[in-house]
Symmetry: C2
Subunit: 264 residues, 2 copies
């Protein structure tokens, strides 16, 4: 499973300040620490409370790629910011995100094609996020048809079935799991998710997020946007990979144990 670090996000106030003040040192430190902790890609977001999203995004992409050698996940709804990011980006980026919403499809999908990116595809349309897994899978199918028509590679589309908070509806995680399993089995497509929505407004959120991730991994989820600095979470990834036969001879697990980085 591809691990995408979530920390370079302007919704986090300290990060927002650093983007505002162009505090390269802070940004680069946070980029390095995430990669050292196991992130294979970094999400970058400059949308919140910042005046010039396109300029900030370009600055952020350049600052991060000066110090780490991983591709970035360009997290924006602003086509101009995405374009500036992709122009500055080295390697194959991911664009986060398209959906069946007209504005996103027309504004963002062409950029992903032009720059040869992978994309996160949200299973929602103009009416929002459907309640049922069947409708979400239906949207994924339509998005896959569009992707194939436009010659976007199948394996460059990561569907996010959009988990909503359990505190709002007891069934929200199950609806997500059903959608994920169905997209994997029927569409044979790649899948992705963030972890934090599921636990919104519940106590001990990181605990819930961790077991959520284990279930997602057991269903074959291909990528996760998460906090790689959460050592208990990264330990969950190790243990789950071990259980799912994705750690030959238990080597990574034992190496992490010897390094003292398995945290119960």
């Amino acid at each position: 499973m591809l691990i995408i670090g979530e920390k370079l996000n302007s919704t986090i106030s300290r990060v927002r300040e650093a983007i505002k003040s162009k505090d390269k040192n802070f940004i680069q430190g946070l980029a390095r620490r995430q990669v050292e902790a196991g992130a294979e890609m970094l999400d970058v977001n400059t949308a919140m409370g910042v005046e010039n999203e396109p300029a900030d995004m370009e600055w952020l992409v350049r600052a991060v790629q000066e110090v780490v050698d991983v591709p970035l996940c360009i997290d924006s709804t602003n086509p101009e910011a995405i374009k500036r990011a992709l122009q500055a980006h080295r390697g194959k980026a991911m664009v986060n995100s398209i959906s069946l919403e007209k504005q996103r499809l027309e504004g963002i999908l062409p950029l992903a094609l032009e720059y040869g990116c992978s994309v996160v595809a949200l299973t929602m349309d103009e009416k929002g996020i459907p309640d049922s897994s069947a409708e979400r899978v239906g949207i994924a199918e339509r998005l896959m048809e569009i992707a194939e028509k436009t010659n976007l590679n199948r394996e460059d589309v990561y569907f996010d079935p959009l988990v909503l908070p359990l505190a709002v509806n007891d069934r929200n995680a199950v609806t997500f799991f059903e959608s994920l399993a169905e997209i994997k089995q029927r569409l044979k497509a790649r899948t992705i998710s963030g972890l934090s929505n599921v636990s919104h407004s519940l106590p001990k959120r990181r605990l819930i997020n961790r077991y959520f991730l284990t279930i997602c991994m057991s269903l074959g989820m291909d990528a996760a946007i998460l906090d790689p600095l959460d050592q208990q979470l990264m330990t969950a990834v190790m243990a789950t990979n071990l259980l799912l036969n994705r750690d030959p001879m238990c080597r990574k697990y034992l190496k992490a144990y010897r390094a003292g980085s398995l945290v119960e």
Copy 2:
């Protein structure tokens, strides 16, 4: 999921000593603590290093049921010990275990029928535990046919697909998950497992056991024999029930949080 406390087991040296010396106080304390921690049934085992298994088993059953109001899981391969346990037992016991081995089928299944018990049915035969999930499910099917012929209720059979250590073979947990899923889907039968085999001879075993349990629960496992005094494990059960829509309005999770019993 039915939680069966595993601690009253003569393979644990302190418990073995207490059985030998008929230390009722210790045994009853351990029984009480497991039930208070959430066990809905208690496994009892007197096989190891004790001279008279049938007499010890009868003593253990009586001692435990003097102080807790839960049924017991009679864990023995000795038909005489099982018989003495069932004669002494109040309520509906579980017998642990039958298999396709002739000795167990002929010696133990009739007792389960006579005393109206549920049974743990291991997916193994005279040749041992098959490598493939297909063969294990095949054994489960034959056991289910036998159970139905003898008028044992379908829902009184808990199949254990027998997890083997990951340290021996990387695929062992996956083979178990496949068998479990297939027994649930194709046979529509109940399933059960212990947690500790999977992590045998690896470091930080309780960590592995915990994520193993979460995956088992997501596959619909009906019962687990576990250590209810492991607070992190019981927290995993809470969080997983929450995610799988088995905790209406998040009530149990929030109650455990307020009681301070959620341990990350």
